[in-house]
Amino acid sequence: MVNPYIPYPVRIDEIKTETEDKSLKTFKFVFLNPEDEEKFAYRAGQFAELSIPGLGEIPIGIASSPVEKGFVKFTVFKTGKVTSYLHSMKEGDIMGIRGPLGNWYPWDLLEGKNVVIIGGGFAFTTLRSSIIYMLDPENRKKFKDIHVIYGARSPGMLLYKEELEQWAARDDLNMHITVDGTDDPEWKHHTGFVPTITEQEAPAGTEDTYAIVCGPPVMIKFTQPVLDKLGYTNDRIIMSLENRMKCGIGMCGRCNIGKEFVCKDGPVFTLKQLNQTPKEY
């Protein structure tokens, strides 16, 4: 019997501070036992429990992409007991990761379709994983047009800044970066909230077009009417939820929305599915 509670031991290989307020850091982990990396086969959109022995676990979306080998990456916002401690840890430290957990964005369904990725703030992590996955030379041909709309409060709060610039320079991806406001005269991308930029830049919602939306509740609240207006039906709006979790395997009972567990049946749901569940997230 495989014990689903035992984390794989990992070493922190690299820590990168992402944002100017230092509240977000990206941790690159390497598995202590190379064979564990194979067991940890994941798809873009899944999450894992980061486990700090003696302290606890936290569920975090996987920011690295299945096409990146040799490591896994997570971008963590400093907020509670475990994340605060994690932010104080150093390269070389040993901890654990347990997963991969949950479902993923519906890649099979998205093949041959236009994909619009809409993200805000630090919910961009599994979207990064998805973009890298789709841009992989093997995979890019599977998708039609790809749009990415990503916003943060200010330029300094954007995640993965170097990669964003690289993506913006590509011609096989429509990149729309925006910030709520900035006094930087050099800023060459959009200024404005994500829903506004979506209205301006997102393609019309045809049968062939799917939107993946991931961000803070207020962004989702105002983006949804825009997508409705653009013609996206609820089954073509894909969202990723988060709820307080412990086990991550559908057993401990807390993260449910109605009869679905966010950890096991989710975290990815279509808006159509969510309309059939209580709004307990």
């Binding site: 509670y5 003696g54 654990g96 009972g253 807390r254 109605g258």
Partner: protein, 359 residues
Amino acid sequence: MKVIKIDKNEWASGLEKLRSAYELIGPVKEKFYHAFQPLESGQQPDMDYINTRVSPKYVIYPQSELILECSLNENDEDYKIYKEPEKEYTPKAILGIRPCDADSFSLVRRNFDTEEYKDPYWLRAYEATTFVGLACDQPCPTCFCSSAGSGPYSDSNLDILLADNGDHYLARVLTEKGEKLAAAAGWSQDAGDEADQQIDQKKQEAESAIQSRVNTDKLASQSLLDLYEATDAIWEKEAFSCINCGTCTFVCPTCWCFDVQDEVSGKKGYRIRNWDSCMYPLFTLHASGHNPRGTKVDRLRQRFMHKLKYYVDKYENGIQCTGCGRCVQLCPVNIDIRRICNMLNSYDPESCTCEVTAS
């Protein structure tokens, strides 16, 4: 399946024989109430017990259980690497468990034994346990097992079913595990041809003695969201008296939710799982401070919707309740699952009304 006769003195001596192979657990009287406890050498279970306050679920699923441990000593090779603690799952026998409590394990198993994941701690403990049930001839006024998918003689999760018949028990040996235990105890007296009928007769009598029932026939066809949104008709008023303690969930044989906590002692780290309760605000509180079930109305609704609707829809196997009546008896503010079950079952979304029964 065969029926054997166990004289009561033979019962006592048989238990002593079992001790070498099994850890025995049975009902014993404590200060005020009965509880399932390990039986010391020579100690007999009190088979005339009134149902226990806390259910025997703890035998399989302890309230606090060590699930992982690791060294926090930097010099150790496995420093900070969590491992499963060494535990022995020696055979146990729960003696005199009520059929309703035994049935609860089948309900809980659906949570811990899934296609994708298996909870090794629950499953190993469950598999190491032999369930010797005592049919229930004197139901409590709060018992509603027979309308909750269980019953006073239900044997679907038992290895042996005992029916008290004066100076002896008639025992249905239901499984291989049961046969093994009966053999180890030296119980082999054939009960005769009539015994099966006798048990059925007693079963009918016991079932007719149950006065309390719940209606569940319409639960599956009700709309989940209609019930969820019946705030004015049901939830607001029913939740008023709730004080958000965890009594109902902790005494319930079918509540399985847990929390995972790490503790450190000296140079060792421990990961422990503890029973948790959907009644507590902390259960769902996000680190951001947002709480998707922030009010007691939300939490009370979660508990009853889970038992009476989500579970019904998810597993298509009835309600997540065996009708043991503990929460009804022990809720300090008299929130009664029978009343709420009947309200949900009879809810009419057109008129937003439901039938209120005094149960």
